[in-house]
């Protein structure tokens, strides 16, 4: 992969006016948003946050138990958020982080009230609209003690041919007994460069479930979230579903560090390439006992492309239990013929198996998004790749 040059992107002057009524967004953009998990017409959300290029264009909540605001406003209001802002991520980590720290465009600050169970998800969208836009984002999520929250965050570009860059920093704090489900759906363009950097801490008895769906072409994406299980009984589970069409380069993985006892770490990734490159990483480090961890990487090559699975297990004390399971290959002819014997033609059989393989059902996604993903699987199928 060619080195990413920050000079290729515009980091200044791409401001947009506030959109009070999100339903007024143009139809084709709405379409892109739905594929990124954001349903602007939906009433089934507790809050909606939207960032377009360099501006926060919308931020509305209808649940008083969850606070959602532009990160810049939050920094002002809470004296720079010293407990959270650049508390996990090192400002000097790399040039992208330095650039984002020096020239912040926005992002969301989401915080629950102690003990509050937020029933409807908070949806957020980070949108690239202007050609060659370079977007610097910093998100902070705080799940207070014994509270529950589901965030659906969609990142999308205006259209499939879009050129631009997204540089997103996210810091996630799950406090004692808290539960966060964080669903991220990416729908980038063919020429989009993406460099997110995510770090999180889960305290005693807390749970972090992370779902990641990427089905559309992206030029160059590199992400490697790191989660620390610092409290006893903390749990982290990562489910990823990745599809790489020709022209995609995806290097992604998850690192979970188990620093406390009775912690559980699990990462499951399902990857399909139809011509692109996927590097699927996973790293679990057990530093305390008892601790259990498991990495599962399953990959299918349909037609062409490259999958490189890199599961890493690291234990630093006696008694840690870690395992991994990785398989890269093709759909078994036996499975296709079994379904054909039930009356499905070869394409139907293949897409049924692929849908099962990707198994996005377990993520419990909103119906519209689930349907959209099903549609994408059908499209995958209609191409010559299968």
């Amino acid at each position: 992969m060619k080195k990413v040059d920050l000079k290729d992107f515009k980091f200044e002057g791409l401001e947009h006016a506030v959109i009070e009524d999100l339903t007024s967004i143009e139809a084709d953009e709405k379409e892109q948003l739905i594929m990124a998990g954001v349903d602007v017409d939906s009433k089934d959300v507790s809050a909606t946050f939207m960032q377009v290029d360099h501006s926060n264009v919308h931020c509305g909540t209808n649940d008083k138990d969850v606070e959602v605001m532009d990160i810049k406003k939050a920094l002002e209001k809470y004296d720079g958020l010293p407990e959270y802002y650049f508390n996990l991520i090192d400002k000097e980590k790399d040039e992208f982080t330095r650039n984002a720290a020096a020239n912040l465009h926005g992002g969301y600050f989401v915080r629950t009230k102690k003990g509050a169970k937020i029933e409807k998800p908070v949806q957020s969208c980070l949108f690239l609209k202007a050609e060659n836009s370079g977007q610097n984002i910093h998100n902070i999520v705080v799940v207070e003690e014994n509270s529950e929250l589901h965030i659906i965050t969609g990142c999308a570009a205006a259209h499939e041919k879009f050129s631009g860059g997204h540089f997103g920093l996210s810091e996630i704090y799950v406090k004692k007994g808290g539960k966060l489900t964080f669903t991220m759906v990416h729908n980038w363009g063919e020429n989009t460069v993406v460099r997110p950097s995510t770090m999180g801490v889960v305290e005693e008895g807390g749970t972090l479930i992370n779902n990641y769906v990427l089905m559309k072409r992206v030029k160059d994406l590199k992400s490697y979230p790191t989660i620390f299980l610092n409290g006893d009984g903390a749990v982290a589970r990562f489910n990823s579903v990745l599809v790489a069409p020709e022209g995609s380069y995806i290097d992604t993985g998850t690192r979970i560090i188990q620093n406390a006892s009775d912690t559980k770490a699990e990462t499951i990734s399902r990857t399909i390439t139809t011509g692109g490159t996927i590097i699927s990483r996973g790293h679990i480090q057990g530093n305390n006992i008892p601790a259990r961890g498991h990495i599962e990487c399953q990959g299918l090559i349909l037609g062409g492309g490259r999958i490189h699975a890199v599961p890493e297990l690291e234990a630093t004390v006696e008694g840690v239990e870690l395992s991994h399971e990785a398989a890269v290959g093709k759909i078994a002819q036996e499975e296709i013929e079994y379904l054909m014997a039930r009356g499905m033609d070869e394409d139907e059989a293949t897409s049924t198996i692929v849908r099962g393989f990707l198994n996005v059902d377990i993520m419990g996604l909103p119906e519209k998004l689930q349907k959209e993903i099903d549609k994408q699987i059908e499209e995958l199928d209609a191409s010559d790749a299968m």
Partner: protein, 254 residues
């Protein structure tokens, strides 16, 4: 219904069916006997149309259509249904979903069908994942009930099945063969009876003959080394094999 003429089948370089003729009439159930490796399963796999089973000579006709080289799904849609011995596990594909798809567009009352084979608790499990021998058979029958075939291919209904399950499987196999009413939410019992069809025929492989306690088998033959021989009533054949083994068949062929 099914007509096989001078069928020759190869797996790789090896000929496994060597000039086989068989005719199964509407509503008829035919039992196939034969020692291990005689080509019984190969015959069923060939009739269903699986790859690796190359028809080198001969013709298979089903409902008047030449299906010798038809793709698997066309045979299934024409009405051939098969119970698999060792079906593959498909991760992420729920049993419920597959049973629905077996209906091929017709409305299938999955819950009701599942109750009949004690599979209600398996509907939300991945198909065949960790299923025991008896569970696999019941799951296969459940799919076939939704499929409602007019020719049932059943490879060793007894294998890996305990007595209690055998009873259930035998009963359900009979139900399928008798063309007994397919449960439907839209039709009253009377309407269902009017629609009742008795045209289902079967081709069943058995070693032990337990299945004969449950179904009305009309005819039987022994497949030996790729050839059919010894046509008789199934129970008589079974009795004969029990007494003398398959050695007698060799004599008969010579």
């Amino acid at each position: 219904m099914l007509k096989i003429e001078d069928l020759h089948v190869k797996i790789g370089d090896k000929e496994v069916i060597k000039g086989l003729n068989l005719h199964i009439q509407e509503g008829e159930t035919f039992i196939l006997f034969g020692p291990n490796g005689s080509g019984k399963t190969s015959l069923l796999m060939t009739l269903m149309g699986f790859s690796n089973y190359d028809v080198t000579q001969g013709k298979i006709t089903f409902k008047g259509e030449d299906i010798t080289y038809a793709p698997i799904y066309e045979r299934a849609r024409l009405g051939i249904g098969m119970s698999f011995q060792r079906p593959p596990t498909i991760h992420g594909l729920k049993t419920r979903h597959l049973v629905k798809m077996c209906g091929n567009g017709s409305d299938v009352d999955v819950e009701m069908l599942a109750q009949r084979v004690n599979m209600e608790n398996f509907l939300d499990r991945d198909i065949n994942s960790g299923f025991s021998g008896g569970e696999i058979k019941r799951s296969e029958l459940l799919q076939l009930m939704a499929q409602n075939p007019s020719l049932l291919l059943f490879d060793e209904p007894e294998s890996g099945v305990d007595l209690e399950n055998m009873h259930l499987i035998g009963k359900m196999a009979r139900t399928l063969l008798d063309g007994e009413i397919k449960p439907s939410i839209d039709l009253s019992m009377k309407e269902q009876k009017m629609k009742k069809s008795t045209s289902t025929c079967g081709l069943i492989i058995t070693h032990t003959g337990h299945i004969l306690d449950y179904i009305n088998a009309d005819r039987g033959q022994v497949l030996f080394n790729g050839h059919l021989c010894c046509e008789a009533r199934p129970r008589d054949i079974l009795e004969h094999i029990r007494k003398y083994g398959y050695k007698e068949c060799v004599k008969c062929l010579n």
